[in-house]
């Protein structure tokens, strides 16, 4: 029976300098789901994203996208297969304006070759504006991205990923570095865009309220292993999880 799992990580093992960052990790994300990965700081959750996007090769285990083995492919190849990534520290083309960042990403989607046509065409500009409006950055379109406040830099980082029209979006701590006041507006904007486009999302997150509010399912990561998984309610009522991750005795 074929499963609707869009992403499946099987038995991942990875070590860095003698420390086991992933010790037999199994994760699957089904089409249309929002899946969160939570866990203590420094437990290597970003490593999971690094493996899924090809930045790090696991010592053993595999990652499959729509049933196709993508273990060992480069970040570039995986991006071309419809997986986009947003970063914990926003990765922008900081000397360019907000709209230029998005237009470049839009052009990249089609392989960056567009003959002698310019990057800045009315059609592309319109597309970029649409996306910026969707994510709430329309007013800042002409600002140089290095001058943006942190929350907006995060939004732009995610907008660049969305410009690729991915099937699967991987978000690395989308609300980290964002003030408590801005957290929910940011997530509302992102999740709105994601839902509207039918994108599946896997996000590593620290803020339990955000997880409780937006995640369909949660994986709890601890010491390189998946400690528990299930709906947010299941997981947050799990005694072990409460103790080691959430910090409630």
């Amino acid at each position: 029976m074929s499963s609707p799992a869009i992403l499946r990580a099987s038995d991942l093992h990875v070590s860095f300098a003698g420390v086991k960052a992933a010790d037999g990790v199994n994760i699957e994300v089904n089409s249309g789901e929002f899946v969160a990965v939570i866990g203590p700081n420094g437990s290597g959750k970003t490593t999971l994203l690094n493996i899924c996007t090809g930045y790090v090769k696991p010592q053993s285990g595999s990652v499959q996208l729509d049933g196709r083995d993508i273990t060992g492919l480069s970040p570039r190849a995986i991006a071309r297969l419809g997986v986009a990534r947003a970063f914990q520290i926003p990765q922008l083309f900081s000397d360019q304006r907000v709209i230029d960042n998005v237009m470049l990403a839009l052009a990249a989607r089609h392989g960056i070759w567009d003959g002698f046509r310019p990057l800045d065409t009315p059609a592309r500009r319109e597309q970029a504006r649409e996306l910026l409006a969707l994510i709430g950055l329309a007013d800042n379109a002409e600002r140089v991205s290095s001058t943006l406040p942190e929350g907006h830099r995060k939004l732009l980082d995610i907008a660049i990923a969305l410009a690729l029209r991915p099937r699967l979006l991987l978000l690395d701590e989308p609300t980290s570095g964002v003030s408590a006041l801005e957290r929910f507006p940011l997530m509302e904007a992102v999740m709105g865009a994601v839902r509207q486009r039918g994108i599946t999302a896997l996000f590593v997150e620290h803020d339990m309220d955000v997880v409780a509010r937006y995640a369909d399912r949660v994986f709890v990561w601890n010491n390189g292993k998946i400690m528990a998984s299930g709906t947010p309610t299941d997981v947050f009522n799990h005694a072990e999880v409460l103790k080691s991750v959430v910090g409630v005795a």
């Binding site: 970040p75 991006a79 071309r80 083309f93 000397d95 052009a107 310019p118």
Partner: protein, 307 residues
């Protein structure tokens, strides 16, 4: 307004040799070097400094000399083939080189250009050694013009090419491929995560820059009537870098303005002193010290952010 200014400048440039005949040679060489400096400037956009680009300049000039020996004497054909030769060389050299950045890239370019120079100087049987090879007047549509006529045709052809190639290059720089160049410099990793092959983007840029330098070399070869190994010497690359840095703020036009300025300066300086390299070196340092920070953000930029 800008277009009127450009048209005026162009007209002045075209009319100058009529008023001051000996300037025609200087200006032809200036345009030739302008093309080569433009090549350097293209790579500069991606944060890559080539201090060995004179080798492509020399390679295409040698190409013209060899073509002439092989019996191909038509100007159009020689131009096309020699530039293609430079582009091909750019492809071969660039495929290896664009894996590197910053100082490694710069030094590898320098090293390869020095090897090229050494080979040109040593292989007397093939390249004529330090004497170089002569480049005779080509045929144009089957006819061989007189020397002075040809030199004038060459000058106006160079002017025309400057406009045509300049415009085409601007199209490239405004296209996604061209805009990706500065993106490589700012955040190469993000570009890879967007599915873009940074190696391909840079290789294409390298080939274009080699072809531009090659175009300059063909014009210079015909203007001088001879090609010598010195065309590829590292100090020649240095002059190109200075022009690129000087004119950099001004984009495509800037390279040619810088080239004309420097070549005029050179022809005047040569009458007073022979320490031209010294002047170029000092000028390079001074220009960098006083350059406004907006120059492609290149000089202010720190290392790309890490994940």
């Amino acid at each position: 307004m800008r277009y009127k200014l450009a048209a005026l400048a162009l007209f002045a440039l075209a009319a100058l040799p009529v008023a001051v005949p000996w300037l025609q040679f200087v200006l032809t060489i200036a345009i030739a070097k302008g093309f080569a400096a433009l090549g350097v400037a293209v790579l500069l956009r991606a944060g890559l400094i080539s201090i060995g680009h004179a080798m492509f300049f020399a390679a295409s000039a040698y190409g013209v000399a060899f073509l002439s020996r092989a019996g191909i004497n038509d100007l159009g054909a020689m131009l096309l083939l020699a530039v293609l030769f430079a582009a091909l060389m750019g492809l071969l050299v660039g495929a290896f080189l664009v894996r590197y950045r910053a100082i490694f890239f710069a030094m590898l370019n320098l090293a390869i250009s020095m090897v090229f120079y050494a080979l040109c100087a040593k292989l007397y049987g093939i390249t004529g050694g330090t004497d170089g090879m002569g480049i005779s007047i080509p045929t144009i549509f089957g006819m061989t013009p007189a020397e002075s006529t040809f030199k004038s045709i060459l000058f106006y052809l160079a002017l025309a090419l400057m406009v045509i190639v300049g415009l085409a290059l601007q199209l490239y720089l405004d296209s996604p491929l061209g805009r990706a160049l500065s993106a490589v410099h700012t955040n190469e990793i993000r570009l890879e995560y967007l599915g873009v092959s940074v190696w391909s983007v840079l290789l294409i840029a390298y080939m274009i820059s080699a072809a531009l330098a090659g175009l300059g070399g063909v014009i210079a070869g015909f203007a001088v009537g001879r090609v010598v190994p010195d065309f590829a010497f590292w100090t020649a690359s240095g002059h190109l870098v200075l022009i690129a840095v000087l004119g950099g703020i001004g984009g495509v036009a800037g390279a040619f303005i810088g080239a004309v300025f420097l070549e005029l300066l050179h022809s005047m300086a040569v009458t007073v002193t022979d320490a031209w390299n010294l002047i170029v070196g000092v000028a390079l340092i001074v220009v960098i010290m006083f350059l406004p920070s907006g120059f492609y953000g290149l000089l202010k930029r720190q290392k790309a952010p890490s994940l």
